[in-house]
Amino acid sequence: MSGFQPSYVAVGPKKAKRARIRLGQFETDELDDKSFPADLREYVKSVYQYCLPDKRKFVEAELKSTIQNAIEDASLYSTDWNEVPLPSGCTSKVNPKSTKSKSFNTPKVKNAGIFGIKETATELSKRESRQLRFQSSPKPNTPVSRPKPVKRTLGQGDDDDESNVGVIVGTSTALEKSYLRLTSAADPAMVRPVHILKKTLNLLKKKWRQEENYSYICDQFKSVRQDLTVQRIQNDFTVQVYEIHARIALEKGDLGEYNQCQTQLRELYKKGIPGRENEFIAYRLLYLLYAQNHADINALMRTLTPERKSDPAIAHALMVRSSMATGNYHRFFKLYLQAPNMGGYLMDKFMERERIIALRAICKAFRPMVETSYIIQELALGTQLALFEVLKGHKAFFPVNGGTHLDTKAAMPGLTESTNKYAKVDIKGPLSI
């Protein structure tokens, strides 16, 4: 996807106030706290955190001059404050928020391509207008799009050099577009701006309900995602798109596509963009249960606050986990039938495995036979036919009394063999989330 993006860190009001007080002379009308990018506030916080006590005055002065310079050449927003080293006089010159290699000590000025022009907001808007020179004359019914500065959410610094060149604003008004992998920089005429994409989304929602043509829908969604990526749009609309696509993918059992969306959503949620985070945490938990990735399950559970645990979707997923851990098939299949949102589709993926494990336990316990009605009910199979299909598939089809009972002893070997195939192997799932 896009290149390196430092994580957005929301700074609460209290901390912002402290930063404001310290930076004294910047209390002008134009510069209130909201106009200081969040990563700058983090930078200031880091500076004060690592500043040596006897060098405080010296550090403060340096900090003030750095910020003043940034304001003067309008690079306040475009500098990635997470990468700027701390002034000397701090215990470490290396910025703790930096995720780049620590051996870099020189401040990296974000250059755009070969000309070494600093990427400020003003520079970018000028570039937009220059680019428009090369567009075809606007069609009669399309509004003339004005050069807009690229929408930047606070706290995001610049990206790596190569991806800087790709940031554009789309002009296409085509509602539907097939997905084509990009091999070079995107052409703005082919990219749809946000307001068009919103209309597209509504159209796709309708079409999905009416036609249920998955390959078409998937293709369309991917192109919408691509347009969003290329325009660096990361907001609640983006989240919405990914969430809807994920749900559709789940409905069709397309785990690959679901995983992609899930990964992106996690990143977006981390940046504080609102969405149905609880719903997707529950999906993730269920997915990890499918993959039997207990290490990640434990890690995820550790991060859950009591608040999250009480969310119905997450609570459901947690109960699924615990019922699996204690071999409680009765509760497990009850939960399957009550799965909220799209959880049931995820559980479908490991339904067969759990059924076989439960069947084997049942055959071990009941002798000489057991009522098939009991099995059908407990394992949420629905019909006798469904049960027979499952049994036949695992060399366990030994009906008694015309099918009202199952010969448990005879069924054991086949079921044991199948259970061993599903043996608990602790591996990471197909695509690690």
Partner: protein
């Protein structure tokens, strides 16, 4: 004569006579050491340590010279407020030492090697502690240390010593290094990484009992915890038991630590500590009520006491095991009580579901349980061999074995030990696409040679 020169001549003499203890004494890192102080002061005046090294050690290897120069530089900057930089220097110096140590004629240096490795870990902990162990793992110096320790381990374990005696091979240091590495991995919560060390030790047939007791105890302690992490309770119990027995009684803090995990493992196996033991190590409050609740078959009580210490158990990583695995044991104890109450001499013991339901509802305080729940629980108990007999759905009863209906919990084979690594290997190798899972060759999942 300058301090540095005099000092380095002593070092030279120690090296030439292969005098490891003296060398260890000479190479110190704390400011209370007179050598360190004197060296630092003189180096601060601009004396060129590197040149003197070259002068005195001209005929020795470059690796040694680099190492000693790095040591002098480190000493010079020991008081640098930037602790991260100090650690980095040490790390660089240590890497140079490893180059020197990997040569075949440096086996006599094992004591020094161990000392330097310990110091590395100590420093790493100190530095990361300053930031409160915040941040992701790769930012931590502990992470850097683990990589160096892996190198140490490889050097130590692959030492053939030209077929010479074990006592003179670098392998002497292998358990010490392993213990250091385990300490780091557990702190970093990368417990799976221990697997490579464990399997290599097994491959090279390293006899744990030939090492000093202190190292044995530490190793078995971590090994026990590793097995617990892998849900292999019986193996864990065995290691922790040996560790506890071999640990000297004077190391009370260590004994208590081992005991915590040993008790947790044993509770799952139905073995309970005596109150005297718990009292001795101040563990009464934590475990006593839990054990009583288990023996009673008291679900609600057990839950209550478990929640009381939940944060501690979570921290230790035993919470899930205590919550779920022990629950099965509690069911077993509960239904056994029903059996004891209802049994009649000479007759086949019968356990009606309805009676079990009454018991379960009473024990858990949860009235929503129904007969189907009971049936499922009994199936579970039978499946895991806590119960011997069979169920009859239509009559809604469990018919129990006349001989031993409820085998002793400690005799029951714990369920997740069912899979052994060899079978897992075969399974991975032979996997078909039917299962719907793609098995990637996860490098963390190292192969264990049986």
């Amino acid at each position: 004569m300058s301090t540095v020169t005099a000092y380095l001549q002593q070092v030279r003499s120690a090296i030439d006579y292969k005098n490891a203890p003296t060398l260890c004494q000479l190479l110190q890192f704390y400011d209370n050491d007179p050598n360190v102080q004197a060296l630092r002061m003189e180096l601060a005046q601009g004396v060129n340590g590197k040149a003197i090294v070259e002068n005195i050690f001209g005929d020795h290897s470059n690796a040694l010279k680099n190492f000693l120069s790095a040591y002098l530089e480190l000493v010079q900057h020991l008081q640098d407020p930037d602790a991260l930089a100090v650690y980095d220097r040490y790390s660089a110096m240590f890497s140079m030492y490893l180059v020197q140590f990997s040569s075949p004629d440096s086996n006599w240096q094992v004591p020094l090697f161990k000392q330097l490795a310990s110091m590395l870990v100590q420093l790493a902990f100190r530095v990361d502690k300053m930031t409160g162990f915040a941040g992701s793992n790769k930012d931590k110096k502990l992470d850097d240390a683990t990589r160096l320790l892996s190198k140490c381990f490889n050097i130590a374990i692959s030492d053939r010593n030209d077929g010479g005696p074990f006592e003179q091979s670098k392998k002497q240091s292998v358990l010490h290094v392993t213990n250091l590495a385990f300490k780091l991995y557990f702190k970093l919560r990368q417990i799976r990484m221990c697997r490579t060390f464990i399997s290599h030790l097994a491959k090279e047939n390293i006899q744990i009992d030939m090492f000093p007791k202190s190292q044995q105890v530490t190793y078995r302690y971590y090994l026990g915890r590793y097995y617990l992490f892998e849900s292999q309770v019986r193996k864990a119990e065995r290691e922790l038991d040996i560790a506890f027995k071999k640990c000297t009684r004077y190391a009370t803090k260590n004994k208590r630590l081992i005991l915590i995990y040993l008790i947790s493992a044993r509770m799952v196996l139905g073995i309970f500590p005596r109150p005297e033991l718990l009292a001795k190590y101040n563990l009464m409050d934590k475990y006593h009520s839990l054990c009583i609740a288990i023996k009673q078959g008291n679900l609600a009580g057990y839950q209550y006491h478990l929640e009381r210490h939940m944060p501690t158990f979570l921290q230790e990583g035993t919470y899930i095991m205590l919550k779920e695995r022990v629950k099965v044991v509690i069911w077993r104890c509960l239904f056994r009580k029903v059996y004891v109450v209802l049994r009649e001499p000479g007759k086949t013991p019968i356990l009606p579901f309805s009676q079990c339901l009454i018991a379960l509802r009473f024990s858990s305080g949860d009235q929503t349980y129904d007969l189907l729940d009971i049936e499922c629980l009994l199936v579970s108990l039978l499946d895991q061999s806590y119960l011997k007999g069979y169920l009859h759905h239509h009559k809604q009863i469990a018919v129990l074995s006349k001989n031993v209906a409820f085998p002793r919990v400690r005799d029951v084979r714990v369920i997740t030990e069912r899979y052994d690594d060899a079978a897992v290997e075969a399974h991975l190798a032979a996997q078909t696409v039917d299962t719907g899972l793609q098995f990637s060759t996860n490098t963390n999942f190292a192969t264990m040679e049986s």
